[in-house]
Amino acid sequence: MKCVNSVMYRTDDLRIPGQSICLRTNYDNISNAFISPNLYECSNWIVGLRMNERDLKLAEEVGSHIQANGSSAIYILTTKYTNLVRTNLVLLKAFLDMKTKRGMMITIDRPHQYISHLLQLHGIDQAKLQFIDAISNHASDTKVSPNAEAFESGPFYIETLPDFIMSCDGRDPESKVDMSSTEFILMDNVSTLLTYNTMENVKIFFSRYVGVLKERSSASLATLIVMDRDLHADLYSFISPFAKKIIEISTDMKVGNVVESRSPTSVESTPSANGPAASDRSGSGPQTRERTGEM
């Protein structure tokens, strides 16, 4: 058993007889550590450092703005590019731990093992998280994260990614992931597509992606997109009219403006990369939007 600056507990003390476990922590105060709820799935050692208070508070607040029980909708969280991963983590905390939703993460920017490792470090339960890893084909580390519910190595080419997602409908016995019961999808991250593709291709991809989600998902699917709208203004302008709600996350990780659309653009009305009406694309919010929060 590996321990680092650890405090050893007999499991009898933790009301789990028959095993010895290790709480791994660097903190002086052991109360900062916690016991994972899926203890037995974590073999014989429990890892978990509580997420810091600021990010926890943000997770609660963001979670309150995204109600995943209604109809399917897209939510955009805008933040500086330096906070993309952190915001992803906050969202996963909110959805997996606080709302106990079943989710899917599509990883493009970095292999899924990385975010799985992060979730483990933060003690976020991954038992209800599936991964489609579109970048793993290019990564040297090909081992599958043992903590997630399921993993599928997805196609790297975005022309085929929507079709791949469509195929994950639970009917194919060969498919390891199943979208039919998914309650939220998080993509890490859509802007990275611009590294490998033209803007027009990314727009086409996104239109098809949203269309596939709408066609194949359960009735209430929250699609979560985190992006830096200043860094990728053109892509943001294209995507934002699809969103039911746009939530601004400030550099110091607080919820800023929350802009809600009464009637987000439907996927069917945007068959091409030209996207929705150009007049409805500004980052400042068109007439159909109402502000529901302030800094």
Binding site: K2, V4, N5, R24, T25, N26, L49, N52, D55, Y81, T82, N83, L84, V85, R86, L89, R110, Y114, H117, L118, L121, H122, L194, T195, M199, D228, L231, H232, D234, L235, S250, T251, D252
Partner: protein, 228 residues
């Protein structure tokens, strides 16, 4: 900036960003190497406080077993080191003691845990070469694993490295990092002058050659002359 250009994090070192297309690629791991007194720690501190001014989170990992207050006392001489950032936007973590009692894997795990707790956008490990002194034969593997892990984090990490006499930079780690910045001292007549040189910066069309630097209490390390 084009759509697929590297996002960059401003270094906070006056004159340096102009040499590296606006800042360090984000994310990346950069080695800041130099002899004693060349300004490595000052460089690293300014980098963290620059981020703090922008609301970014910083983490300073010391490998020297120095008490945090000792470091703070030293840093306070600089105008950029605002007290309100201590322990908040700039968090200090001393792993010097653990360094003597832990394996490489344990050290990596400690760094991982601390980064996961703080979630910084700017990380400094100062100095990394002390680890090499402690670990000896295992250091090369440790350095490779450390840099690999740090590259996964959504942060710019500065590793400071002490160079030995006759050595330009610590070779054990320089091959793995994304960038190498040299801080040099040079005897010129009766004067000892300081220079900076960007030896390597991936994805960056950087200015080459030595540039004069000064260390001031206002800004820390300042590049005095940059050729464009």
């Amino acid at each position: 900036m084009t759509q697929n250009a590297f996002p960059r994090l401003e270094s906070g070192i006056p004159g340096l960003d102009e040499m590296i297309q606006g800042g360090f690629p984000f994310p990346s791991v950069v080695l800041v190497a130099g002899s004693a007194g060349a300004g490595k720690t000052t460089f690293a501190q300014k980098f963290l406080f620059e981020g703090a001014e922008k609301g970014e989170q910083g983490l300073y990992i010391s490998t020297l077993s120095e008490p945090a207050q000792w470091m703070l006392r030293y840093v306070q001489q600089f105008e950029f080191a605002k007290q309100e950032f201590y322990g908040k936007e700039v968090v200090y973590y001393d792993m010097g003691t653990a360094l003597r009692n832990s394996t490489g894997e344990q050290l990596l795990q400690m760094i991982d845990d601390k980064v996961a707790e703080i979630m910084p956008q700017r990380i400094v490990i100062d100095p990394i070469t002390v680890v090499g002194t402690m670990m000896k034969d295992d250091y090369r593997v440790f350095a490779f694993d450390l840099v690999t892990r740090l590259k996964n984090w959504q942060a710019v990490t500065l590793l400071t490295g002490e160079v030995r006499p006759g050595e330009l930079y610590p070779a054990e780690i320089s091959y793995a990092v994304d960038g190498v910045v040299l801080l040099m001292l040079s005897d010129e007549g009766d004067a000892r002058r300081k220079y900076i040189e960007v030896l390597k910066m991936r994805g960056t069309n950087h200015i080459t050659g030595k540039q004069s630097v000064d260390i001031t209490t206002k800004d820390g390390v300042v590049v005095l002359k940059a050729r464009f």
